[in-house]
Every structure is written in C-alpha cells, then in structure tokens.
C-alpha cells in the first residue's frame, strides 16, 4: 500500500474540488477501494472521505418514488420498509450480494462504482488494459470463467460484478450526481459504460463528480424477482443474474422489465427482450424467443461459454416462476 493523505471532505463542493484531480479518490464504505489499495491496484495520493456529507437518507419523492442517499448503506436500503414493500427486487438484489458485514459498511454510491473482479485486474504483475492501458488483456486466453459474453471488446472482457445496479436497471432508477458544473441526473441504464477502446472508463462520472443519490420511480408493483446463479450459495459473485418485474393481464404479459448481471461490463438492459413478451401469453417458445433476442450477439471466450446456455435457462426459470406467481 502506498502512503496516502486522508482528508475528511468538509463539504460537497470541497469533495468535488478534491476529486477533480486524478490523484484523489472519494472513499465511502471503503470495502472495495481499500482492498484495491492494499493490492496497489488503486494508488491514490489522497482519499477524500465523503461519509459525513449528509445524503445518507432514504426519503419519499414527490411523485411517490423513493430517493436513496448515496451514503445510505446497502443494509439500510435493503431493510427499508418501502424498499421491501414497493421495490422488493432491489431488496433481494442487495441481500444477494456480499455478506452482512460488508453490506453494513458498503454504501449505495460505492456499490454502483465497485470495480470488476477480473483476476488480472487485481494482480498488478499481470497485464490488464483497464488498470494499465495498452498492457494487454490477461483474461482473453486466460482464466475467464466469470467474464462477459455481451458487449465485450478486444481490449477488455470484464464484467461489472454488482447486484444492486442490476435491480436498479430493471426498475429504471436514476443516478443523481453533483460536480463543479452543478447537478445532473443519469438513468442507471446509461450510468455504466461498455469497455470499447477505453476499458478504464467504467461509468459516466467526470472528474470531481460525486454521486449524491439514486431515485426510484413510483412503484409499479408486479411480481419482482432477483435470481442470482453462483458457485456457492452466498458470498460469491453472479455467474448470471436476472432482475425481473413482471405483470400479466388477462393471461398475457403487460409488463416485463428485465435486466441481467454477470454478462457484461454493465448491468445489461436490452429493451427488446421485454418488449417481445408484451401482449403474449407465457410459453416456452416465447421465453426462448426472448432469450434469442438477448443472446443474439453473445460471444463466449472458452471458459465462459457456458454462460450462454445458463443465461437462457435462468431466464426460463425466472419467467416461469414469475408467470406462475402472477397467475
């Protein structure tokens, strides 16, 4: 670990100021950042502690939605009565991640910004275009079981590893951001980026921008499922995950909001997948069609080829469960 300065940011404006330079990183729960600093994957000169800046509340919004403070912990969010009753998919997604101890410390903002678990990214003695642009990608032709099958590039095939953002993507939530140019909001679905030729850019945050909150739209009800397939029953990242909000009217799909984890550099939301279900009665053939659309451009890298059939089967399981529950 490199020596670094620790400063408690006195205000949001000051936090923005400090993190505008590339040598300062914001620290919230620290559950991801400190691990990476110990491995010298992250080597900031300074940490700006944002924990005392407020925005830890979870509050109703005027239009019946819910605003999750960026500094509210994952645990506080998952157990919040309104999250549990109105946005159960979010509660389930958070509780499917990490461990109780980690969730007690992890914040919503930090969770959105958590970095990939790619083995080559976390080992500074291995090549990685994300950590060290131009050094090559260790995972392509390496151990890539956890890696992406959608939206990859020849520079990087890493996944975004988180669960919470997958549910947020299905829910159509919005990320609220504050920076020196003022405030802006970005749909969660547009917050994370694909690797392309710039795998080190993981989300749309500009230098100096701080996430202040996440806003959930007014609840939509429906059957809400978060299904995470993993190698042990807890404390493992998703091989594949599905967040689904499903409604049937007169035996036909009237709502199908779907997002997927473990498949790409971002929570994967392809509006065509849900759309193809709308107005149709559930059937295996229909589920297959949805999977065909989802996986149209899927590409495996050997070790992770299994994710293609696994995604198809998991989607089947989720849609079957949802339509049984809804019927």
């Amino acid at each position: 670990m490199r020596p670094f300065q620790y400063t408690r940011a006195p205000s949001l404006a000051e936090a923005s100021n400090m993190t505008a330079g590339k040598d300062t990183l914001a620290i919230a729960g620290g559950t991801n950042l400190l691990d990476l600093m110990k491995l010298q994957v992250e080597t900031p000169d300074q940490l700006a502690d944002i924990n005392r800046l407020g925005f830890a509340e979870i509050e109703d919004t005027d239009n019946g939605g819910l605003r999750l403070g960026a500094l509210a912990t994952n645990t506080e969010t998952a157990v919040h009565p309104r999250v549990r009753s109105d946005y159960p998919v979010l509660s389930r997604a958070i509780l499917a991640g990490a461990t109780q101890q980690l969730r007690n410390k992890a914040t919503n903002g930090g969770n959105l910004c958590q970095r990939t678990r790619c083995f080559y990214f976390t080992n500074i003695d291995q090549p990685c275009n994300k950590r060290e642009p131009g050094s090559g990608c260790g995972a392509i032709d390496g151990i890539a079981k956890l890696h992406a099958i959608l939206g990859t590039s020849d520079q990087c095939i890493a996944t975004y590893p988180g669960d919470m953002a997958v549910a947020l993507s299905a829910l159509g939530a919005t990320v609220h951001i504050s920076g020196d140019k003022g405030e802006r909001s970005v749909p969660v679905r547009d917050f994370h980026c694909l690797p392309g030729d710039t795998p080190w850019i993981e989300n749309v945050l500009e230098p100096g921008e701080i996430i202040t909150g996440i806003v959930l739209p007014a609840p939509v009800g429906g059957t809400q499922i978060y299904r995470k397939v993993r190698e042990r029953s807890s404390y493992a990242f998703a091989l594949v995950s599905v967040a689904a909000i499903i409604e049937l009217t007169d035996g036909k799909f009237s709502r199908a909001d779907l997002a997927f984890g473990g498949l790409a550099h971002k929570p994967w939301h392809d509006p065509r997948v849900g759309e193809c279900l709308l107005g149709q009665p559930p059937s295996d053939a229909l589920f297959d069609k949805a999977a065909d659309i989802l996986l149209e451009n899927a590409r495996g890298f050997g070790e992770n080829d299994f994710k293609i059939p696994l995604t198809r089967r998991t989607l089947h399981a989720v849609l079957s469960q949802a339509t049984e529950d809804a019927a």
């Binding site: 670990m1 490199r2 020596p3 110990k38 491995l39 010298q40 678990r117 083995f119 080559y120 080992n123 500074i124 003695d125 291995q126 260790g138 032709d141 390496g142 151990i143 079981k145 397939v229 993993r230 190698e231 042990r232 029953s233 807890s234 404390y235 493992a236 091989l239 299994f306 059939p309 696994l310 089967r313 998991t314 089947h316 399981a317 469960q321």
Partner: protein
C-alpha cells in the same frame, strides 16, 4: 526419568476403560476456547516484541529463470525502508511434511510464478509492502517451462505400483464392469491464520514465534536452512489458526524472518499476505484418475484398477498419494494400481488435509456408484459385499474394521431409501431431489512421541511437549488422558504445548497427533502410577485414583512427600506396523437438491458414521468429523484452484474467489461415532479422526446429484456449468 515404550504387540487390556476418574471420552469444551474467542490467545504474529521491524516477501513475476539483478537502491531511499535481503539461504518453497531438512533455497533461481526471491524490511508493514512492490528486479527468463500435467511425460511412483493377476482379462470376463476417468482440481488449505513468523536473536541464540504444525521436524528444518545447531534455536507455536497441512514444514517467512533479524540486528516479523499464502505455500495437486472395476453377477469385485496422474515441481518428493486407501479398500484379485507424477512449474504441491484419500476416495466411491447402478445393486449392499477379509494386496489382517457397522448404522440413522435408486424420482418446483452415499477410509498413521508429565505437590499435574494444537483439541484431550490416568479433574491438569523447550512430540499432521502424543502421555502417566503404587505397596494395575485420591482415601499430595514426581513418556511404534493394515473407516450419506434450470446443487442434509478407535473427547471428535464433512462439500461442489495457462500462476488467490463452503452451503450435519477399541493402532486404542471426515464424502454428494437429476459427472467440483453440461433434458 524417561520411560520408553515400543509397541510390538496390540494392547488389548482396555486399561483406560477401567480407570475411575471417568473423564476420557467426555464431550468437554476446549480448554483454550475462551482465550481464542476473547482474543487473549496470542498467535504467531501477535507476540508483543519491542523494536520489531516488518518484512514483506518479494515474489517472482516470471515462471522459470534467474534473477540477474536486484536494485536495492530502488527502495532503500523509500520512507522507512531498512534493508533488502536476498541471501541465498532464503527458502523458495515450504518444506514438505516430515521433511526434516531445509526446503529448496537459493532465491535467484526461479521455478514458479510467485516464488519468493527477496525480503524487504521496513519500520512499518505498509512501508515494507509498498517497497516490496517497487523493488526493481531483472530476470533472465527461460521460456517453455511445462505448465500442463498432460503435456509432459510423467514419472511413475514405483512403490505405489501393483500388478496382480490380469485385470484386462477380468474386465472382459466381468458380468458388470466400469471404466471411468475422474478429475479433481487443486485445493488450498485456506487456513484462517496466514503464515507468519517473528524472529529474535540473542547472540547466537534464535527464538522464532511461528505458525507451524510440527515443531519436532520444523526445528531441524530451520537449523538446516540456517546452518545452525538445533540447541541454539527455540521455536514457539502455542496457538495455530488452522494448518490443514500448509504448516507441516517450515515455510518461506520463517527463514526470511530469521535471516533478516540477524542482518538488521533487531527482531523482524514477516507475515505472508493472503495472496502470498495461496501462491507460495502448498497446493493439493489436481488429479486425473482412471478407475476400472470388474464384478461378477453378484456384484463381487474380481478386478480393481486405479491409476492416477498428479503433478509437482521438479525436485519435490511429494506426490499426492491418491491410491493410499485403494490398496485395501475393496477386494478383487486382479489388480492394477499406478501413480504417476508430472513435473510442471506451478507452485509446490504438498499435503492439504487428507492427502491422497481426499481426492482418491471421491473418485473410487463415484465409480462404485456407477457399478451399483449398472449391476442394479443397492450401493450400500454393493459395498457390504466387497469388504475384504484381509488386505487384498499384502494379505495382512486389519487391525480393526468398522466399515460394515458404519454402513449399517449410517444407513439406519439417515433413513437410507434403498428403493429410490432410479434417478429423477423426486422433484419440487425447479429442484430435483436425491440421495447418495459413499464409504470413507483414511489410513491410520502413528508416530514416535515424547511428553513429560509432572504430578505436582499442589495436587495438579503438568503435561509438557512441543506438540501443537492446530485447533483440533489437543490441549483438551491430553488433559483428559492425564486426568483419567492420574485421577484428576482435567481442570487440574495444565497442558503446555508448542515450545521446542519441551520434549519432542509427533507434530500435528496425518491425523496422527492425538493417538501418538496421547500414547506418550499415557506412557508417562503409567510410570507415575507405578511409582505411586510402589509407595502404597500395591501394583499399578490395582491402583485406583480419582479426584486426587486413592481408593483408600490417601491424597496424591501426601504420597508425593513434598516432591514433584515427573516422568517423560517416550512412545515408539514398533514392528506392529508391519503386522496389520490399520485404517479408519466410515460411511457418508447425503441428500441434495439440484436446480433443473441453473445446475446449482445444494446439500440438504448429510450424515457421516465413523469408526476410528477410541473416542477421546466426543465433542472435539465430532467437530473434526463435521469439519471434514464440510470440506467434502467443498471438494464436491465449490473448491478449485485455477492456474493461468500461460505462466502457471494461481489466479484465484483469496477467500472471495477460492470458494470454500460458506455457512449457507453447509446444512445440519449429523455424525454417528461408531466406537471401537483398536489396540494395534496405539496403546490408547485410538486412531486418527482429523481427516477421515473428508475421505469420500464428496462422492456421496456426486452420487446424490446423479440420483436427483440423472446427471452423471466425473469432474470435481460439480459447479453449475458442469452439471448443466450433462443435465438430461
């Protein structure tokens, strides 16, 4: 005064059953448990040592070659940095268990990615770690180091080879035959406490606090590595936060700390990072195993074949002893056994809990299930029919053999459903449900051991040995043995372990600890009893002691006449080892559910029934079994070391990515202790239990997966991707 007992004959007198104190076998809680859970038990790195500098190992970033230069100046100017040590005496690997000599030294020669090549010493750990990452090292790289066991010509381990009869013929003649190949991936010990050492010199005397399992060997290994006399070294390892084989021999940090402390003239602590522990200490080799079983129409084996390929680095003598129990597990007069080792440049392969059977038994017991299904015989019955009368290879009698009882009692307690042997009979929603079983076996090991027991004038007793307690309960069972023999409440017995100033024990490894050191304590206590008996004019076998008194009411304190009474017990296994085949046996039963869509497997319940001689403490024995079964779940479903195909480095080197089972993976586990007295195994009639609980259990799960959903897998661990690949529609 030392009393020597060399065991050439079975001890069938059941002496310990006749003692009056009545504490042996009782489920007493661990003596040191409270200290551990309240944080007052100091582990190796935690000893308060003044003016201690911190060392961090620097590891190689090439697979094979030579370190041509190390630029010390690149880090010596960094804050806090005191020294860079690249002494040729630094160890590049950990010693194998019972090596009794220094492990590989000479850090300038690189043999695997991640190998220690130097140590950076600084004022703080963080400074040392940063400097270790910044040390500029140049290499001369040797390309083409083989990394894949299947790409090299393997070496046959000839002493494992058996050619008996004509297996090919038996296979051709058999009413039912099975010829299958299983694979297992590498495993890590993943002990909670990382490898750590603090070294301190006083003139030419060296004291090292380290986390080690076998001080009796470790002191010799360290002396050899440093070219010192053993009497100038003191090793201390009072508490060990798990070892599971990874701390059998000295590892790199012990020698590094000693060399550094000498050079910088002050104490030095070296703690390996979690990643380093994974990448530099020991892996269990991956295996490829071909099983051939030939049976007559009744399911009785007429042929038995087990061939295995394992791997290790050049220069290592250890080869995962996959066939260990296969030599005697089942009958079959036509036999082919062979163990091959491939020399590859992955990190050192060595002992990880239950070396051999941990992976050999899951393959054998998987194949037995395939045979049972083919022959249409209940798998429990198939095993009962194939228990050999005597060792099928060397003809020796078994010292004791509880497999049949374990199979029967286990099946009964589990509620084994004989009639549910067809796959895919039960489904709940998305989940297929099924059951499976497997036998357990783990060879019995025993070792020479010494312990001193002192009966004190204050009415307490002291037990001293350099034996370690690696979390298994050694402190407690030794207090129970001494308490039983001397008629004392175990609370009045102080047990001091883990210090080479004490008589040499056997070390904790190979499940031999309890039986070996327990026998040394027994021998010492027996000698004390003899002396006491003389003092009251009776014979030792008539002496009844309990609660600090004789049967006639004299107190032990009075008998001591104001002087402590000490005896050193020296236990040595004798010729008896050549007269019997000795092993622990058992049976596992598992119920699992397998998700039809995702291939995820969850163990619903699991039971193990085990026969391993005398139970010294029903609680610690049960805990060992539960721990073993938990490891079985890891072998079956989750644990796999992954190595990079291009440079051979271990990629999943932390506890987030190397998947040991978590609480949620481990359901209620049931243990049936099938008590027995095995007088040929040890004078206290006990055998090992530390490993038996994981020797075959993975197959019970694999067989249950087949029973549940019809997917027959031959590759451990059975992760969702592998289950789905063979899941019937």
């Amino acid at each position: 005064m030392t009393v020597h007992f060399k065991q050439d004959e079975p001890v069938n007198s059941n002496r310990l059953d006749g003692m009056k104190q009545g504490v042996l076998g009782k489920p007493l809680p661990r003596i040191e448990g409270l200290a551990k859970v309240t944080g007052t038990a100091s582990y190796a790195a935690e000893f308060p040592v003044e003016n201690c500098a911190e060392g961090v190992l620097v590891t190689a970033t090439i697979t094979r070659g030579e370190v041509t230069s190390i630029d010390r100046e690149s880090v010596l100017s960094m804050p806090g940095v005191i020294a860079v040590i690249d002494d040729e005496k630094l160890c590049t690997r950990a010693a194998q268990g019972t090596a009794n000599e220094a492990p590989m030294q000479g850090p300038s020669q690189v043999c695997y990615w991640g190998q220690p090549i130097a140590l950076v010493v600084a004022e703080t750990f963080e400074q040392a770690r940063d400097a270790a990452k910044h040390l500029a090292v140049e290499y001369r790289k040797e390309e083409g180091a083989p990394l894949d066991p299947s790409e090299v010509e393997p070496e046959e381990q000839e002493d494992e080879t058996v050619h008996q009869g004509d297996l090919a013929h038996a296979m051709a003649d058999a009413a039912h035959s099975v010829d299958v190949t299983y694979t297992t991936k590498g495993h890590a010990s993943a002990a909670m406490e990382p490898h750590a050492a603090i070294a301190q010199w006083d003139g030419d005397k060296l004291t090292v606090h380290a986390s080690l399992q076998m001080l009796n060997y470790n002191i010799t290994e360290l002396a050899d590595a440093l070219d010192m006399k053993e009497e100038n070294i003191r090793l201390i390892s009072r508490f060990v936060g798990g070892g599971f084989g990874s701390k059998l021999g000295i590892s790199e940090e012990v020698v590094a700390a000693a060399l550094a402390a000498k050079e910088v003239g002050r104490p030095v602590r070296v703690v390996q990072s979690r990643q380093q522990v994974f990448q530099t200490v020991m892996r269990r080799s991956e295996t490829t195993q071909r099983l051939r079983l030939a049976a007559d129409s009744d399911g009785k084996l007429i042929g038995f074949g087990h061939e295995a390929l394992v791997s290790n680095l050049p220069g290592e003598t250890f080869a995962e002893p996959v066939l260990q129990s296969s030599h005697f597990m089942y009958g079959g007069e036509n036999r082919e056994l062979m163990l091959n080792v491939a020399r590859i440049h992955r990190m050192t392969a060595g002992s990880v809990r239950a070396p051999g059977e941990a992976v050999g038994m899951p393959a054998l017991e998987g194949a037995m299930d395939v045979l049972a299904a083919k022959a249409g015989i209940d798998p429990v019955e198939l095993r009962l029919r194939n228990i050999p009368e005597k060792d099928p290879e060397d003809g020796l009698p078994f010292s004791s053999h509880k497999l049949a009882e374990c199979l029967k009692q286990g099946a009964e307690a589990f509620g084994w459903d004989k009639d549910q042997r067809k796959p895919r009979q039960r489904r709940e929603g998305e989940w297929w449900i099924g059951t499976g079983m497997a036998s357990a076996a783990r060879v019995h090991n025993i070792s020479e051991a010494k312990a001193r027991v002192t009966l004190k004038t204050d009415g307490t007793a002291l037990v001293e040995t350099d034996m370690t307690d690696i979390g298994t309960g050694t402190y407690t069972i030794l207090a129970q043995i001494a308490g039983e023999m001397l008629g004392l409440d175990p609370k009045r017995v102080l047990v001091e372990l883990g210090d080479t100033r004490h008589p040499r024990g056997p070390g904790s490894g190979g499940s031999w600890g309890a039986a070996s050191i327990g026998s040394a304590v027994y021998v010492a206590c027996k000698a004390i009893r003899e002396e006491l008996a003389t003092r009251i004019g009776t014979s030792e076998d008539k002496l009844e002691l309990s609660e600090g008194k004789t049967a006639t009411g004299e107190s032990l304190t009075d008998l001591l006449e104001g002087k402590d009474l000490a005896r050193e017990g020296h236990y040595e296994p004798g010729d008896i080892e050549d007269d019997y085949t000795a092993s622990g046996f058992g049976a596992f039963f598992a119920e699992v559910r397998v998700n039809h869509y995702t291939g995820e497997t969850r163990v619903e319940r699991m039971l193990g029934a085990f026969g391993f001689g005398r139970v010294l403490n029903a609680k610690t024995a049960r805990s060992q079994c539960i721990g073993g079964i938990t490891w079985s779940i890891g072998v079956a479903l989750t644990e796999a070391l992954e190595f990079d195909p291009r440079d051979g480095h271990l990629v999943n080197c932390d506890l987030a990515e190397y998947h040991v089972p978590v609480h949620r993976d481990v359901p209620d586990l049931d243990v049936v202790l099938v008590e027995e007295r095995d007088g040929a195994a040890s004078p206290i009639q006990a055998k090992g239990i530390g490993e038996l609980g994981m020797c075959g259990g993975a197959a019970a799960i694999a067989n249950a997966i087949y029973n549940a959903c019809g997917a027959r897998l031959y590759d451990y661990p059975m992760t969702p991707d592998r289950v789905l690949a063979v899941m019937p529609d």
